[in-house]
Every structure is written in structure tokens, then in C-alpha cells.
Symmetry: C3
Subunit: 342 residues, 3 copies
């Protein structure tokens, strides 16, 4: 079951051009493309004539032309040309989806188009700020429910166990982090501090810390599928908790988790370099390291999904570190319940 | 649902020899082989002893010997030998299927054997005429219902869209072709003329036309699964419509579409060279070009099948160019309805 | 349907060490590992916290630590550590399975633990006797029900048909073997003699017989999944039937067939060299030859399973050589019926 009345990331804006792109979202086959005017559009990826995927077609001056018999559709899904006849059958149209380009994302609305309010799309100004937050983005296809990836990000005690070679470090440091959680209108925020801790391998590759650091993780979950992260570290003894605007390590991550099916997810992620902005190599290195860490997550959550597929979730036991995760799940369940009532 | 009381192409005659060949037809596992006398036979591909596939066995002087414990079956499916015992159990037999070798095809009858009338097998004399119609044949496995492949051949406006690099050319030439359709006892015929048109790439490879051509396509659909094609082109201005017996380009194609399963098909096809009969290279080139064009079809219809599997065919809209296709579908539906009544 | 109250081979003892091993048995995901004390244990391969496979974790001083959030379980499945909290939730435990190491096997009990009686585990002293029975072992994954592999070993007339290149030879030799079958408490035994027969290729590779041999096969089926085999050959004319303690060829095989799923099996097999004990190359050669022969079986039984999956077993006809097989099947059916009554 999916929340339908919500904005989902359909693609990175630069993935979509005049060559149609097929992508399954909330288990519907979608075709994304840009018209000759550069505006991006999303249609159901099935021609209304003989069901051929429109993504096999091409963009013409008047719209997206089916590659089988040449019917053409505009960005609203209206058929505007049928080869061999002047009259367009009245029913010749395909479903279109609201699609908005913002902050390097293409956001799609899978629910009732009347309810699609652009004002509710998340702001992520860092994607427009290449000077202060130079960044790169990636996309992973993960064979698990998007919920398991959100779960993963709501219980950071996993970092010491899964990410020992990258962003992890001593498991106990993460287990004992000082954590403050705050509910928000659309989810929750939490901040975690690991004072006087050993910097993990990825941090050391970025900055040659000589001793321990005060390390922080700020996470905001915005239902149903976005997590905004700001993390970093400053030499212990510099008063990081009172002032994070000091030399050290700092990054911003966007985690956007778009369901492909009930058990597979597109993981849109970006890494922004907040510590050595003038150095493109630092931006690249950060991207590589985080990309590696996310592959470590991918392996575990895919195996977790396989077990859940087989044995379900009955009998699972919550522990103390699940607190934020449970809050997140309740938020999502509430949205689902609300949508099914309407 | 399949039409069972009909002849289907089981194999090219030269595919079958004394090494058994496993092939699924109408979703039944069949083994094809030739006895020592050279006669081809078809049995269900399951030994009646322990269910091993008979296609793992070998042909002996008395029949097809199971490769597991040596039971042997004659061409009628009767068990004729059980190692270790003289008495053959009465129930020891496997289903056999009427099989007829004709015009380089092996035709199988999947329905009630009593109704199998050899006289109703299609004549295709061109396969026996290597002098006037030198030819080659191919076999493609296509992951779609055979109906989608028949559909494909009943609406030739697709040629301009799919086959631009081979037999296509300007889409509008095909859309505007002058078409005459005639119902027949077992399907329909149609003839299409594209006068004064640009010859497509494959035609130009075959014949160095210097200007436009008058191009024709003659198709006959014989239910449920055969399409016989004669196509060609002659320099514009030579009066092709009144006399096609002039130098130019001409080919005959057999399209035989045998269901493997509800959503996969064996596409038996042959290409006969009617324009440069004395040149084996011309025959080979024609075969290569048409083989390429059919792979272009294969890609589209497989994707079309995937969409239909998921979203069904509800809400699809017919257009003018569907006329022959709709007639063909009605013929097939009538046969299915008739068979289910009996 | 599986017999649950029985010992199954879970692994070769040397497969399991302090790196956890995932293996599906009777369609349950199991993790096998050795604690720091060297004792092997078996748990369900699902953490009771978030369902991650425990096989992704690692062995610590106190047990098996989950690789996701660090919960740790002892050999009995009791959770002994939850990072970040002192109190272990009462329900935090996972299922454990009785596991016994004996004769180079790890035997697992998949049923009611109260009924697990170590005294009923099969004795196979040859695995502990490297002097008289030097041996090697293998493991094949076979995509068929374990019953088809037991079937295979209960009707040895297949040897001439399947194993012509290895242990086979003239099919009629096997069909006409002199066979005596004896029911036992837990299955059956049979002995087959093929006097004055041509030694098959694998035998000739092992021993340069100059003429015919008297060849024997002694098989014991111990329900539900073990077959113990002693086979060999001695020059004809030496009175082999009265005295097999003469120079010639002799081997012991263990066939242990553990269901992975209803239609896949782990085939644990060992080959013991009883004819040239002082020569490691002879032991190796024997292992290679038998390994080849079992791959010949694997091919046939997998295809047999595919047919049975599709067409079932209705209408199959028993023949004379099925006698031992039928006895075996009745034994297994009786055990299943008995277990379902309790």
C-alpha cells in the first residue's frame, strides 16, 4: 500500500531529456520526457492504441510519438495526432501526472491531481548553491521496501556495525550518542552528538584530524520519503556544540526514497561538501565515500527484505534505539489511514 | 486459450532428425524425432514410467528409448519395450500427435486426432521451387502472444515507424498506401500499393533503384497462425500495377506463428528471392535484411506484451488502420467460440 | 510435506567455522556457526529485532552478533546483548535447532526438540577410518525433490542408460542383475550381483582389469534421506560371491539427501577408496569419477522434476524394476502419516 497523495522524486532533472525515460513509480509504469520547449512531463507508459510502451517512441514538435504506429500525445496526455486520419477519437488520451522541476529534482504526484499543491514540495536550497554546497548526486536501485530504507536512517546505531570501513567507527560510540528528538508537522528531527570520539575512515580521508572529534548528525524526516541530513565533526576542545561554524568536516545529504514496487526503491541521494568548497576533488571524494557507505546499507536491507518476504514481521522485538523509527512509522501509518478514509 | 483443432508448424523439417528435439507447443511439452525409417513423429515429452523427458533419450531401431530406464515407444506412443520384463503393462503408452511433413514444414495437430484432416494443411509450393524462389528460413523465439505478431502484420502502418533502417522509409508513405481488403474463407487478403515512393534501405541494398518505385504488399492471413506475403517494387513509370512480371524487386515471406505459451511464440519465417534467383548472395542478403527487420518487430511486441500483462487491454482505442486487424481478430474469436461449443 | 522429526545432514563438519553459514533446510532459513569454544550451533537465520539475516553477522566471545544493530545470541538462541540497554527484552530470542557433530557430518533436528534422540543418528564409522577407507566428500545442489534422488538410487537399472561413460556399461547387465532385497527396521537393503560382466569405464580407470568381473552393489536405505553403498568388482573366476576380501575394486559411498525446499536438495556425498588405500591419487580419481556420475544423475532428475512440476505424476506406470523404490516410498509415506497423526 502506498501513500498516493504525496510528491515523490521521479528523477534527477538532468536524467530527463528529449529521449523518453521509462521508470516505474508506485508500481505504475511511467514515461518521463521533455518536450521541445524543455518542459518535463510524465505520462503513463502505455499507448492507448495498442498498449506499446510510449518510452519506445520519440519526442516531436507536437509531443511524444508512439514508436509503433505513430500516435502522438502532448504533455497533458491528450492525443494530438493519429496517422492516417484527421479526426482524433475522443477517448484517445493517456493519463498524465503532475510533474514539477525544483532544486534539481523532478517531483511527481501520483494521486488525485486536484490535490497536487506545489507549495508542499520540500525546499532544498543547497542544490542551487554550488558555491557554498558544491555537490554531486547518485541513484541506487534497492530491492527492498522504501520503508526499510527509512527505518535504516532512523536508527543510526547501525552505523558502527555496517559501516566500519567508511563512516562507522566504534559501534559503542554510536550506541551511546547523545540524542534529542523533536516531532515536526511532517515527521521528526533528531540531533545526535558523539563528543570526543574517534573519527571514522571516511572522515579521515576528507580531513586529517589529528585527534578525537566532536561529531554530530542532524536528521530530518519529512514524510513520506525524504530525509535531510547535516553531519560533521570538529576537533574536540573547540566548543563544537556551541559553534559549528569552524574548520572541520561537514556535509549535507539528501535521501529521497521513491517506491518502485512494494519491495523495490529508487534511492536518490546527493552529497554536498561543506568543508572544502573550493576543491572539486574533495567534492568527488565525498561522493565516492558516501556512495560506498550506501552500498553497505543496500546489501543489508535487501537481505532483510528477503527474510521479511518469507517470514513476515511477526514476533519482532523493539529495542530502545528504535524510538525515532517507531515515531516515523506512526507518521506514515497515520497518512495511510487518513488517505484510505478519504 | 488456444484453438486446438488446427494445424500448427511444429518445426522446420530439417530441424528434426534422429536426435530428439524438445519443443513446447500450445503449452504442452512435445518431443519431435525421426524413426530409423526417416518418418517424423511427435509424442508428449514425458515418459509414462517416471516422468523423465523422452527428449533426453535416443532413437533406436524400434522407437524412442527413454534415457532414464530404457522404456521404448513407437511413433504412435505405444510402449514397445520395458527392460527387464517381457510383458508390457497395458497402460504403458504416451500421447502421440498427428504430424505431417509438407513444404519443408512439420505440421502438428494439437486437438482431437479424429478431426485431423491433412487436406486442410496450407499449400506453400514456393518452398519446393528452389529455381524460381530460392529461399532460406529462420526461427525466432518471441516473448509475446502469437496474436500480437499477427496484429503486427495486419496493420502495416507500423513499418514506417519501426523499420526505418530496413524495410521502412517515410512513415506517411505507408500510412497513405492504397489498400484493398478481401475476406476469404479462412481469413482475409489485402493488397497495398505505394506508387511513386522512395525505396527503403533494404530494397536499395537488393536492387540499385535510381528513382522512385511503385511498391506493393500482398498479404494473406490464413487462420489461425499463417501469413503469406508477396512484396516488391518496380521503377515508377513502368506500369507495375498492370504487370508485376518485370525486372525490379520481389520477395515472398512465410510467417508461421506457433504458440509456445499464452505469452510466447515460435516465429517460423522464410524469405524467398524472386528478383535475382541465380545469385545465392542475393538470397542470403535478403534473408539477413528480413531477419533484421523481424528483430525490430520482436523488440516492440515483447514490450507491448509486458504492458498488456500488467495493465490489460481495457480502454484501448481502435483507429482507422486497425481495420484488417479487427477482421482477423474476429475470425480467430469465431474459431475459438466454435471450438468451445463442441 | 517434510518429515520433521528426523535427523538431517545440515553440513559437512568442515564447512562450518566462526564465519556464519546460511543454509535453507526443509524450507527454513538456518544459520550455522561455531562459537569460540568450537561447538557448532544452528539458529533460525532471522534476527528477532529487525529481521536481518544473522548470517550477515559475526561470532563474538558471547555468541552470534547481528550485523545490523548488534544484538547477540547464544547457541540456544537466547539474546545475551542489546547495544544501548542493560535490560534484555524477555521475548528477545530466536529459534535454535539441535545440532550434533558426528562422523564428519553436522546433523540437525528440524522437528520437536524434545524428540531429538542422538542415539538414532546413523553410524558411519568409515568417515573416521582414513587408513582403511581414505575418502573425500562433495556437495551438490540439485533442483529436485529429495525423493527423486532416493528413487534414483533404488532402481539401479538406470545406471546403464545414464552412466554409460562412467559407472555404467551395458544396460542389460544392470537390468539382469541378480538382486536380493531385505526390509529393515528403517528402510531396506539390497544386494545386486552382475557376474561375468564387462567392467565400466570408471572401474577400468581405477583398476586395469584384463577381463570380465563379478560386480556387486550393496545398498542400504535408512529413512528418510540416507543411502549407504558398498560396491566393487573382482576378476571373474575368483569366487567373489564367497569372498570379497580379495584384490580388485571396492568403494563405499554415502548419499545424504537433505531437502532445501520441496523441489531442491542438498546432495551430500562421500567416496571412500577401499582398493588402493595407500595411494592418494586413487582416492582423488575415485572422487572425480563418482562426482562426474552424480552430475549425470543431476541432469536427468532435474528435468524429471520439471515435468512433474508441470504435469504431475498421475498416470505413471510402475515396472518390475521399481520394486525397491516402491518399498522405500511406502516407508517414507508411513513416516509422514505417522507424524501427521501426532
Amino acid at each position: 500500500m502506498f501513500i498516493r497523495n504525496a510528491w515523490y522524486i521521479a528523477a534527477w532533472a538532468n536524467e530527463v531529456n528529449d529521449k523518453p525515460l521509462a521508470r516505474r513509480i508506485l508500481n505504475e509504469p511511467i514515461v518521463l520526457f521533455r518536450g521541445k520547449d524543455g518542459k518535463a512531463a510524465a505520462l503513463i507508459d502505455r499507448c492507448c492504441h495498442r498498449a506499446a510502451p510510449l518510452s519506445l517512441g520519440k519526442v516531436t514538435d507536437v509531443g511524444l510519438e508512439c514508436g509503433y504506429h505513430g500516435l502522438t500525445f502532448d504533455c497533458a496526455g491528450q492525443c494530438v495526432a493519429v496517422p492516417g486520419q484527421d479526426k482524433i477519437p475522443q477517448k484517445a488520451r493517456v493519463r498524465s501526472y503532475p510533474l514539477v522541476e525544483k532544486d534539481e529534482f523532478l517531483w511527481i504526484w501520483m494521486g488525485d491531481p486536484e490535490k497536487a499543491d506545489m507549495a508542499t514540495i520540500i525546499d532544498y536550497p543547497f542544490h542551487n548553491d554550488y558555491k557554498k554546497w558544491p555537490h554531486k548526486h547518485g541513484l541506487y536501485h534497492v530491492k527492498c521496501s522504501y520503508m526499510l530504507l527509512v527505518d535504516n536512517l532512523m536508527d543510526l546505531t547501525h552505523i558502527g556495525y555496517i559501516h566500519g570501513k567508511t563512516i562507522g567507527g566504534n559501534p559503542m560510540t554510536h550506541v551511546k550518542a547523545d540524542m534529542v528528538t523533536t516531532p515536526t508537522e511532517h515527521g521528526l528531527k533528531f540531533t545526535r552528538w558523539m563528543p570526543d570520539s574517534v573519527p571514522p575512515p571516511s572522515y579521515l580521508k576528507a580531513v586529517p584530524f589529528e585527534g578525537n572529534v566532536d561529531r554530530w548528525q542532524e536528521f530530518e524526516f519529512i514524510a513520506p520519503t525524504s530525509i535531510l541530513q547535516w553531519s560533521g565533526a570538529i576537533d574536540t576542545g573547540k566548543g563544537a556544540r556551541d559553534n559549528r561554524d569552524q574548520p572541520g568536516f561537514s556535509l549535507r545529504l539528501y535521501h529521497g526514497l521513491t517506491p518502485e514496487t512494494e519491495t523495490s526503491t529508487f534511492y536518490f541521494w546527493s552529497t554536498a561538501n561543506g568543508y572544502q568548497q573550493e576543491d572539486p576533488l574533495a567534492t568527488e571524494l565525498l561522493y565516492q565515500e558516501i556512495g560506498k557507505a550506501f552500498l553497505e546499507d543496500k546489501e543489508v536491507v535487501e537481505d532483510q527484505q528477503a527474510r521479511i518476504n518469507e517470514l513476515g514481521e511477526d514476533g519482532l522485538v523493539d529495542i530502545v534505539s528504535d524510538r525515532a523509527r517507531i515515531h516515523m512509522r506512526r507518521t506514515v501509518d497515520r497518512m495511510l489511514a487518513e488517505e484510505s478514509r478519504n
